[in-house]
Amino acid sequence: MFFATPVFAAEAAEHGAEHGVGPLFSIFGLEVSSVVTTMWGLMIILFLLSYLATRKLEKIPENRLQNAMELVLELLFKQLSPIMGGEKMAKRYFPLLGSFFILILASNYSGLLPGAGKLPGIQAPTSTLSVTAGLAIVVFISTHYFGVKTKGIGYFKHFVQPLPFLLPLNIIEEFVRPLSLSLRLYGNIFGEEMVVASLFALVPLFVPIPMMLLGILFGLIQAFVFTMLAALYIGTAAAEHH
């Protein structure tokens, strides 16, 4: 049956609104949820892919995996270098930014796996605020760390620029950044998952497919936006001439 009865659909949509399943098990008193297991899976897959791609590095690669990885990373590098103010800067911070992009992209796409968010053990990590907030905190700390590393204590001068009385406004701005970063990513991925879940509950076949296709696009855009903003923040903080 392609179309569910309205009562069933409404009930299913209501259940669909409950995101993910509860904790799966606990280790040393810490609850392990589907988000954590998915993140572990992604870490293993990304580690294996990176290992296989870089095992025998060649200048002119014949290894297809190395070729594919170089293509993706070069594309990202070309997009990030004008934002960061040159290839030198982009090269310096690319390991961090590239990792953000690949991890967020893989996390977003894990939500498109069959049963994601419904079956125990699979749920897009970026559809929970704790994961996106964690990533944003890493960006926040890195921004200030690289700023201090490049400029020393003089980095903090920008908090009283252009005028000293703007100090509270500058501090507010700094703290709003990670919140904005995390909420944007979480909101987009969680929203997209909810729409797919609701459509799936109403009409299980074919109807959710266009939304899932859009999910592929949104996943890419959100990963890119997060990386680009992180690049912008780090680039501004660590710029030689502020």
Partner: protein, 86 residues
């Protein structure tokens, strides 16, 4: 030449993210103000101060972004002129 034109999506992103940043700033400082008001029984003084601070912070950000865009655009313009001359 080391300098490259500023990518257009830098500005598109500003348009997309400015609203969110503004909403978060105002909400956070409104909540902070309300919390202080409850603590010191001074409603609505801190709430108003919080909202005012948020609006000021948002406008400061807006001016800074517009200034940066203006600088980028003039650099792009100079670059285009140089390319035409060459």
């Amino acid at each position: 030449m080391g300098f490259k034109k500023s990518p257009a999506y830098k500005y598109i992103n500003f348009g997309l993210s400015f609203g969110l940043t503004m909403a978060i700033t105002v909400y956070l400082l409104y909540q902070g103000g309300q919390w202080l008001d409850n603590r010191f029984d001074s409603a609505p003084v801190f709430m108003i101060i919080g909202i005012m601070l948020a609006i000021a912070a948002v406008f400061k950000r807006l001016f800074a972004e517009v200034k940066m865009m203006d600088r980028d655009l003039s650099l792009d313009k100079d670059l285009s002129q140089n390319e035409e001359e060459e």
